[in-house]
Symmetry: C3
Subunit: 471 residues, 3 copies
């Protein structure tokens, strides 16, 4: 049976997790407990003293608690991270457990570490990190960038490697985010730059470093089966449907959240049409390819991540979605094979097409939209509020803001590539338990897999050494 066969070849590359995985999980979780104990407390709006504070600050109603402004969006984002990304990656015929299970594991660790890292940078008061619902959203966002990177190395890493990756990527994410939001004073509510560009180029660099020349040994497992494609569509649709919440979750209260949701809705709708068009156009027989539908349809959400809360306008959003559906689908058909054969970038889920290119486009769209902002379009107060032109930044002009936005793209790219190179090198450490080439994309290495899967999957039919279980 598969399990012996795998453990046999796993012995050559020691994928035995019994001591390493528990050690890392327990040690890091203990560290979280200690650090939370020292640093993390409730935000005033989540603290039992709020009742008193409410009276002092003359807040008339309980509903003005930030909880009611952001909690529904938070839950949508939460679903995107765990079900959206988790199921999107179940398309592989033999890696469903790993896709959804490892995503669950590292995201659960990542959100804790992100609460700390982002907290130190953004919510640190009198030696304490004060957390509220906005911190939860930001932590989910941060982990979103790890989910993206996971897409590039899906099926080729051990859970210990993934936890190590998460530790470093969250750290770098927080630093990059701090540079962009605080030092450059850049707007990026939906994270085209901080989440998508950073996460994707980070992941692509890591997978480049971890290049496996003999990966075609597990080529038979890199495809989908009928039902795995349907599971993946669950992920796609939840990402697609909830993306308006993603891009509006941390925007300013009121019109900004409202606008961000509408822009994203428009961009995504448009993107579906051009994805379908090019998916059909680029196949000889004109049949649609599930890989495109599962992925490229989402590019429109990525690409309005920066500008959605700005006055991008519905038709502007349609145009962005229109272009991204095309760019992303073309990326899957032409660019991905090129990246693998020429640049040795093995990108399992095609994050270059879904997150990297659309993320860059999103950064540029954001820069242009910011630079083009006028008092006429935003109103005097609206312009100040939209770009937070207050305090040190009260004299910044929109055109200057556009320049800083563009700088933000470059910083994100640089941080991603430099960080990815270092972290990729760390992940090559031999004791982290990566699977052998012929065991990639195979749950059997790290999971107890029920017997049926041997026969329900066809992959071993190509493997003459193995006989099907059924007579």
């Amino acid at each position: 049976m598969g399990s012996e066969r795998v453990s046999g070849s796993g012995m050559a590359k020691n994928t035995h997790m019994r001591w390493r995985l528990p050690f890392v999980c327990l040690l890091w979780e203990v560290a979280m407990v200690v650090l939370f104990g020292v640093f993390v407390r409730f935000d005033p709006e989540a603290d039992a003293h709020w009742k008193a504070e409410q009276q002092q600050q003359n807040v008339t109603s309980d509903i003005e608690n930030d909880f009611y402004f952001r909690y529904p969006s938070f839950q949508d984002v939460h679903v995107m991270i765990f079900v959206g990304f988790g199921f999107l990656m179940t398309f592989l015929q033999r890696y469903g457990f790993g896709a959804v299970g490892f995503n669950f594991l590292f995201a659960a660790f990542g959100i804790q570490w992100a609460l700390l890292m982002q907290g130190w940078f953004h919510s640190f008061e009198n030696g304490k990190i004060l957390i509220g619902v906005e911190n939860l959203i930001n932590a989910d966002f941060c982990v979103g960038s790890v989910c993206i990177a996971f897409g590039a190395i899906l099926g080729k890493t051990s859970p210990v490697q993934l936890l190590v990756l998460t530790l470093f990527q969250v750290t770098l994410f927080a630093v990059n985010e701090y540079i962009l939001l605080n030092l450059l004073h850049v707007k990026d509510a939906g994270g085209s730059m901080t989440i998508h560009t950073f996460g994707a180029y980070f992941g692509l660099t890591v997978t480049r470093i971890l290049y496996r020349p003999n990966l075609d040994q597990s080529k038979d497992k890199q495809g989908s089966v009928y039902h795995s494609d349907l599971f993946a569509m669950i992920g796609t649709l939840y990402l697609w449907m909830y993306w308006p919440s993603f891009n509006s979750a941390i925007s300013n209260h009121g019109d900004a959240q409202h606008r961000a949701a509408i822009n994203t809705y428009c961009s995504l709708a448009s993107c579906v049409l051009t994805t379908v068009a090019f998916s059909s156009l680029l196949q000889k027989k004109g049949k649609l390819d599930m890989v495109h539908i599962q992925n490229a349809t989402l590019a429109g959400g990525v690409a309005v991540g920066t500008a959605a809360e700005m006055m991008l306008t519905p038709y502007g959003s349609l145009i962005v979605g229109f272009l991204c559906g095309i760019v992303s689908t073309i990326g899957f058909v032409y660019l991905m094979p090129f990246l693998e054969s020429k640049l040795h970038i093995q990108d399992t889920c095609g994050i270059h097409n879904l997150h990297a290119m659309p993320g860059l486009i999103g950064g540029i769209v954001g820069a242009v939209t910011a630079a083009a902002a006028t008092e006429e379009v935003y109103g005097k107060e609206g312009l100040i509020s939209a770009f937070d032109f207050t305090g040190d930044y009260q004299d910044r002009m929109p055109s200057v803001q556009g320049g800083f936005q563009a700088a933000g793209i470059c910083v994100s790219l640089a941080m991603a590539v430099a960080g990815g190179a270092i972290v990729g090198a760390i992940l090559k450490l031999p004791f982290l338990g990566d699977p052998a080439d012929e065991n990639c994309f195979e749950d059997d290495v790290f999971w107890e897999v029920p017997e049926d899967s041997e026969s329900s999957s066809l992959y071993h039919m190509h493997d003459p050494a193995l006989k099907p279980v059924t007579p």
Copy 2:
């Protein structure tokens, strides 16, 4: 392998999509961009000028933005359209990609076109359509009626046909809605008439026009397999759970939304019990039929679509749900075979049972509930607010309102049948690429399908010409 076999028979009926589908998608999306550019702008509550406007209008808090009243419901409705309807239709063993993928495609187009069509009728100010979260909900609603019609023709049409259908159905939907809501001043927040009655009879008429006498050539693919039934249950449950949001999404702020959710919750709960009862009662061995559980349990939500926001009361809702579970299940067992054999209506998903009959019941329940409204039950202000008896309609009596509601049912029916006949005729145009009879309910015609599905499905076991792949 299947793909050759299908393309062979597809050649007879040319189902090649390579030029037609991209052409339609791109052309229409370009049209959307242009029309949005000319017409669509943000609603004041989503516009950056809102901050200033808020002060003028003396709105004290950001939370009084319509976004916070409706956005959670919007997201639930969004899930119903894309995951609910999409997965509900994955029950066919070989048509999961088409069910969820085509639904995704035409809904993404439909919401854009609906924003325009509904916008011209309802949100047109100074030459511009101003869109906010309520417009997004209404666009989703409009597309819901297309999803319903899709249920009747599921598996028998090409994606180009579906896009053509969507274009026309959305247009007619908006006209019908305008007649009901504006000219007849009818209440229909959950759309028993405008969405369900209209959508279902439209779809039934279209499928009647497209009648295929030799459809039994693909009879072996019309059933479900074990896991496809579970996928369909995802759709069922999301429709069932979020239906209270559907029926309350565009009701008046406050008690009306609250009431609509409660009534719908009650009706749906009751409907499950009678569906199970009759599903068991009508089978010789008393076993439950997944088709009934997947569909008839939802009839209770359809049938309170008009009256949910009225003072239907919880027990009134229970009664409506009670009856609809029975009617719908009986429809599946007795009426559906009759419709197919005698009236030549081939209704793949049984929308006659889930949407058409319950929709009519819902219209009638709404008319009766409206006619029975009294100042005692609603309060003076409540009555005015519930039925919007203001302006031109300030003297309308509840009994008269009941009459207009009834007229609304008739108008919807007439529009659906007349429109369906015309659109059905258009869909018969030969170059739209409908599949041959023996290739209906088969993803292979329009999708790249992974190899496994040949062997995991049993359908070809009935086909002596084909040998199973496994030895």
Copy 3:
């Protein structure tokens, strides 16, 4: 084919449902209609008179309707009950229809009966039960305890038995809840005691009474298959993601809801790490077990069900989650076999590990957190508000509150075991149609099952009497 074989052995134990199931469903639903007609009306905030009342009570905005405070949480809870619990139990290879379908059935009945039972105890005014969104949440909560109990007897009962169980369990739940919340004045917003401890020990007692010595006759069907494990992960993730809504849904407006969500988020994140650690640690080969990931990761949410709305603090929550992941996973590996072999408790889903032990821990954590509450931590007003130290209870000290909380655990346990024993005895009545030992965990007994499942499942390979369908 399976259906004959099953009906053959089903004849010995008469599982024929054709008259019994419809009879129970229809009779009980009629009873609901009558009782709702007599007793149930809208809460003032859902009644058409609200507009007038609003002015009287000087409520300035529509958004202060409780609907907007609780509806998003309600929908999340609703998803947990129907998709969360329903799909969590689809892990069995041949019992997916029963898992998700029976859960749907009894929950739909249970919420109606719970509205009445809880209404009589908590919302009864002038002879009427007044229901609003909070009642809907509480009804879902109540049914949650039945879903938990269902986990213990999954696959071994008929739908009639499940409806009988629901009738009695909901009744006892409401009594127990009344004793705790009203007589002992205990806090339990997320239901560690009232939902989890009560539900789990009730279910464990029932399954003990229904002990089947020869259950190993259907042992081949007690495992999962690859895709059934993925379906179960849908349930797991929705429970996990929405648990913050569960624990905060009925907390006080404002900071309490906010805090409850944060605490639950933290506890759950921590729990995933220790579950993974111990799942790997306790397997000889260090591979992860899907059963643990699907279940033990949720224990952290159970265990902060009482204390989440208190000032447990984020690090306190991490600690609780940390411990519960360990306890729950160890329970699956060591305790469950012991319970079955020594105490004859056959616990299909392992609810002892997921709900019983974590529920007890949650009760204890709540008691300790309450006893440790100080005015310094909560503020004077905050303390009064958090524990409702008003009216008769205005002089109760936190330490005394802790004692009452502890008493609440004992009462819940006693009610669960005593109630479970009685209800278990009732369920042994022969005419309720329980399946024979060899037909347990088998949908074929109560459902029309599509043909494919015979061959796609491997279970009959162990059964020499049956030949696979494929040649």
